[in-house]
């Protein structure tokens, strides 16, 4: 193709003529969310395990328009360059498709997500159960529309469970955005772009333990407390949905074998 021949011409994505990108009226008290949700209402979540046959375990999730696939490989031989280790290793990678964002090829600069995913999962996995070997957790964000990292983390823990990797508990993750006076849970892309601050909690609900907590932006102490409580409640609910998805697939498998 002509476009491949080294000198790819500069392209742009045509925008809407009427440049009235309605700014979010977030500072107002009676502001409504773009997708019509309540402030403390999460997007409907859909989970499915076993999306990728080639992997040891995998899961797919849809939170509104955020769509993510996670594959787990292993435990398998560590890279040769790695030193001997008594405990297992966890290796994480998050990548985006070129069409995940409205404008092509803008989703790829989330290098920090891979290490954040690693930190969020590390505490939940019983690494002693697979010494000398590595478990690879690879995530691909098919479509991105906000709260990508929390979704990736939750799906990854489901994929790990699907692969039969021993964990202390499922890991659920939820974020809230602070928009003026309001706290909105499970923010979408537009909300994240105009947020004053964000808070993400990754926890193991059955044990009431937090594996990762990130806070960015401007927060007051009471707001942080409120946000954390919101997240923890949502995580507990999310974990319930994830658990029922696992049970479903397990009973399906039993039906098939019997």
């Amino acid at each position: 193709m002509a476009g491949k021949s080294g000198t790819t011409p500069a392209t742009y994505s045509p925008s809407l003529t009427t440049g009235k990108k309605k700014p979010l009226l977030l500072k107002e008290e009676d502001w409504t969310r773009p997708d019509g949700r309540g402030f403390h209402q999460c997007r409907p979540a859909f989970f499915r395990t076993g999306a990728v046959n080639a992997a040891s375990g995998s899961a797919y999730a849809e939170f509104g328009n955020t769509k993510v696939i996670v594959s787990v490989f292993g435990p398998r031989e560590s890279k040769k360059a790695m030193m001997y280790s008594d405990t297992g290793r966890l290796n994480c990678n998050v990548s985006y498709t070129t069409f995940s964002t409205p404008v092509r090829g803008q989703g790829s600069d989330h290098k920090e997500y891979s290490s954040m995913l690693h930190k969020a999962l590390e505490g939940a996995i019983i690494l002693d159960s697979f010494p000398k070997t590595t478990v690879d957790v690879f995530a691909l964000v098919l479509e991105s529309s906000g709260s990508d990292l929390p979704v990736v983390i939750s799906v990854a823990s489901l994929a790990l469970a699907d692969a039969g990797i021993l964990m202390y508990d499922l890991v659920a993750s939820v974020s809230v955005s602070c928009l003026g006076k309001n706290l909105v849970i499970d923010p979408i892309f537009e909300e994240e772009n105009s947020q004053d601050g964000s808070l993400m909690i990754t926890c193991m609900p059955s044990r009431y333990e937090i594996t990762q907590l990130t806070v960015t932006g401007e927060w007051s102490t009471p707001k942080i407390n409120e946000g954390m409580q919101l997240c923890l409640d949502a995580c507990a609910k999310l974990a319930k949905i994830m658990r029922s998805c696992l049970k479903e697939s397990a009973s399906d498998a039993q039906d098939e074998s019997s």
Partner: protein, 304 residues
């Protein structure tokens, strides 16, 4: 205990568990099935796996398709952007095809190290679409010499289980058949902008592409991969079969029966004319089948 050698496998096979036998002696396992004219997944030798096409899988794209052949899964999306056409071809747009194998799709792909097949499949797909003459690039022109469409076609392999090229080509073709070129106008700065419905009535700007439209696709190229083992021909191999048998033949025919490509990269088995003719016949049948799937999906979309 000594390591069992090939001669001992005959005796072992009766007492060994099936799964262990499959992993330890993949070739013998494979050949035992062939002798019974059946494959390890229960298919007859020359039958392709169940195939499904789902159009419009990516909401934010101008055209998209999700294709499954067995468990091999491909997700394709087309995004349209605007470019200034090159001087050599001022009346033509451009189509850029990229094939991606993200690490989620297969245990052999690792992050940071792109799979070997990636550039090869990308190149073959581009060649196929070009030489089939399926798309008239002039249809992608907007304003001669000033603006034209650049169609970015990205194919992601979500699950790799053999016959990757076939699935990739089918999903690319399906996405192209689903592609809707958005309605645009040129503003005073010479930039192309999208038109919303209200603008259409105002007629203030110079309209370039009045309404959403589809590309006219001439003959459509579709393919079938076969593997050759001794005198056997197996259609649409899985990843396991591909790893055991090294001789692959991919034939691409277009819907008018022209041969677009006959691709056989090496392999220990030589392809004789009779085998080639058999493969062509199988491909012809498969192309007909795939075309009917594609037509069905497209007419279902139109009803909606």
């Amino acid at each position: 205990m000594s390591v069992p050698n090939a001669a001992a496998t005959e005796d072992l096979s009766s007492e060994m568990e099936v799964d262990a036998f499959r992993r330890l002696f993949p070739l013998r396992y494979f050949e035992r099935h062939l002798a019974e004219s059946i494959r390890s997944d229960g298919r007859p030798l020359r039958e392709a796996r169940d195939t499904s096409i789902f159009l419009g899988a990516v909401a934010s794209a101008n055209g998209s398709a999700l294709v499954k052949i067995g468990s091999t899964t491909m997700l394709t999306a087309i995004k349209m952007e605007v470019m200034i056409p090159s001087l050599e071809s001022p009346d033509e747009g451009c189509l850029a095809i990229d094939f991606h194998m993200p690490p989620i799709c297969s245990p052999i792909v690792r992050p940071g190290r792109p799979a070997e097949a990636e550039p090869v499949v990308s190149k073959q797909l581009s060649d196929t679409i070009t030489s089939s003459g399926m798309i008239d690039l002039r249809e992608l022109s907007l304003v001669g010499g000033k603006a034209a469409w650049m169609a970015y076609l990205d194919i992601y392999c979500l699950d790799a289980d053999g016959s990757l090229f076939d699935a990739a080509l089918l999903s690319a073709v399906a996405a192209l058949s689903h592609l809707q070129i958005p309605a645009v106008a040129m503003n005073d700065d010479g930039k192309i902008v999208l038109m919303s419905d209200e603008d259409g009535q105002k007629q203030a700007k110079e309209q370039v592409n009045k309404e959403k439209r589809k590309l006219t696709l001439k003959s459509i190229p579709l393919s079938l991969t076969c593997i050759l083992h001794k005198n056997y021909i197996l259609a649409d191999p899985t990843a396991e079969e591909e790893s055991i048998v090294e001789t692959h033949v991919t034939i691409i025919l277009d819907t008018s029966g022209q041969l677009i490509s006959l691709y056989k990269p090496g392999g220990p088995v030589l392809a004789y004319t009779s085998a080639i003719q058999d493969c062509v016949a199988l491909t012809r049948q498969r192309v007909k089948e795939l075309k009917s799937f594609l037509d069905k999906e497209n007419s279902a979309m139109e009803v909606e």
